[in-house]
């Protein structure tokens, strides 16, 4: 067995990064993992939900297929919040991943297993999926780089949907250069996902942002250690010759409600397909009436947060409320896109901390109310809602725990973000926990 395989097993057994791993690895290939909501031949695809126990898709999601064709080996599926419903990966039917820096703390969510795998295994590339911050969040808490591409840049074929107008497949790894290499492989049009077919060609080299905008509204209600770390990072950018300016983006305050309304509305319709027949096998009690069988399977199998989001989304779409909530949220998304565009008229990227605090302890998470948990997404939701590409990089360490910084660019400008992240890495040395499998 190779040293890499030992690390993969360690990441699975000690940090619950994986739901399933291969029996052996091929050292002639590069190794990647897929979040468990991406279908892959030979593995279960359960998206963290008991309702999908036993579902084995007989095909590969397009990003998985493209990485395999480029010479990669899929070594395992990574743990996640049920259908992506969470900020801390604690809402999973298949194990809660434990932070590589401190196993009593969260990896972030919902691609928590991907964050842990990317941190613990040098050279590993993890496919993650973000709807409202599920790549940036784990990247921040696990001290790795996480790229969330523009909505539509990477095909969603073979992805188990959460919110169709929000879901994006991206990458987590220890370095921006590794992400840059594999991002080119997974990006590009795919006729099996029409939203990927309107994209401009990804070519050439990115342009290092010369001017960064810091929205003052994003610096409120942060843990003081995060604010200090972020200000130090901005000073470092200035030393690198980058202009940093404070701007105002007043519409950011509407992004969290608009996101949660759209995401849960879309999720509540997407999850209607889980009736115990089409995906995941349920053969007991077939003598029941269809509606009773269907309702029984859903009530038994969905977790607490999944039920909460289905109820919220169903309510927001109901007659009498649709205009106030759902249609208003769509209009707010447009407002925010225009606000970002106004800032991008004078600046190349928007930069903020990624999360308002470092990875919390599980006991702290256990005391949080649902609304407090949603509030933790306040910095990752705006680019996700508007489909803007963004990248999270480690920018400091507080009491040994990583702090993330998030840069957002205009639609389709992922290469500029990767250029900025690469320049950042030449100036700031990342730390990773010492591991002895």
């Amino acid at each position: 067995m190779s040293a890499t395989y030992d690390l993969i097993r360690y990441a699975q057994s000690k940090h619950r990064a994986f739901t399933e791993i291969v029996d052996d690895i091929d050292d002639t290939k590069f190794h990647f993992s897929a979040k468990d909501n991406l279908c892959a031949d030979g593995f279960q695809a359960r998206a963290g939900s008991a309702v999908l126990d036993g579902y084995r898709p007989p095909f590969d999601a397009t990003p998985v297929r493209r990485l395999k064709q480029a010479g990669g080996q899929l070594v395992g599926k990574t743990t996640m919040d049920e259908f992506g419903f969470g900020t801390f990966s604690t809402n999973s039917a298949h194990g809660v991943p434990l932070n590589p820096f401190d196993p009593e703390r969260s990896c972030g969510g919902s691609s928590g297993g991907a964050g842990a795998a990317a941190c613990l295994i040098p050279g590993h590339i993890a496919l993650g999926v973000s709807t409202g911050g599920s790549i940036s969040g784990p990247a921040s808490f696990c001290g790795v780089v996480g790229l969330t591409p523009t909505y539509g840049r990477v095909s969603r074929y073979g992805l188990i949907d959460y919110g169709n107008s929000l879901d994006k497949v991206g990458l987590l790894s220890r370095s921006a250069s590794l992400i840059a290499k594999h991002f080119r492989t997974i990006a590009g049009p795919d006729p099996k996902d029409p939203t990927s077919c309107a994209q401009p060609v990804l070519s050439g080299k990115g342009k290092m942002p010369g001017s960064l905008a810091v929205p003052k509204e994003a610096l409120q209600n942060l843990d003081p250690s995060i604010l200090t770390s972020f200000q130090d990072a901005l000073s470092r950018f200035k030393e690198m010759g980058v202009e940093v300016r404070e701007v105002s983006m007043p519409s950011l305050r509407y992004s969290l409600p608009a996101y949660y309304i759209l995401a849960t509305s879309e999720a509540s319709t997407n999850l209607a397909r889980y009736c115990g027949m089409r995906f995941g096998r349920r053969e007991e009690e077939l003598n029941q009436h269809f509606n009773d069988f269907f309702t029984g399977v859903r009530s038994e199998s969905f977790g607490d947060e999944a039920k909460r989001r289905i109820l919220l989304g169903t309510f927001c779409r109901m007659v009498g409320f649709r205009s106030r909530y759902y249609l208003k949220s769509l209009a707010v998304r447009q407002l925010l896109i225009e606000e970002y565009r106004r800032v991008f008229g004078d600046h190349d990227a928007v930069v903020t901390p990624t999360m308002p605090f470092v990875a919390p302890r599980f006991e702290e998470i256990g005391r949080m109310k649902p609304l407090e948990m949603y509030g933790a997404d306040v910095l990752t939701v705006p680019p996700n809602l508007t489909g803007m590409p963004h990248i999270s990089v480690p920018c400091a360490y507080v009491n040994g725990l990583p702090v993330g910084m998030q840069m957002v660019a205009d639609h389709w400008k992922e290469l500029d973000l990767l250029e900025a992240a690469s320049a950042w890495e030449r100036s700031f040395i990342y730390r990773f926990p010492e591991v002895s499998p």
Partner: protein, 90 residues
């Protein structure tokens, strides 16, 4: 959110809720929706689209083909003499 409303939402969502769940989710949704009332102040116009980027329709030639072996697909579901088994409809 009153009991009648949460019960109606749960029925539409095809979820059976216990009394305890009904009470808890009604309270949670109340808290969440109250905090979302800030949306009423948003100076958003009538312009919106269902996706954050323009989306194009993609059509392919209507040619017969078979991407997956039907036997492989049937192995995913409960079958009886090649029919899919399911609960009764009436």
């Amino acid at each position: 959110m009153d009991r009648e409303t949460i019960a109606r939402v749960a029925k539409v969502a095809r979820l059976n809720l216990t009394e305890e769940e009904m009470e808890r989710y009604a309270k949670d949704l109340d808290d969440i929706l109250n905090s979302f009332s800030i949306m009423d102040e948003a100076p958003a116009g009538d312009t919106y689209s269902f996706n954050p980027i323009p989306v194009v329709d993609v059509l392919r030639e209507d040619e017969p083909g078979q991407d997956l072996d039907p036997q492989v697909l049937r192995a995913q579901m409960g079958t009886y003499e090649d029919y899919v088994r399911g609960p009764r409809l009436s």
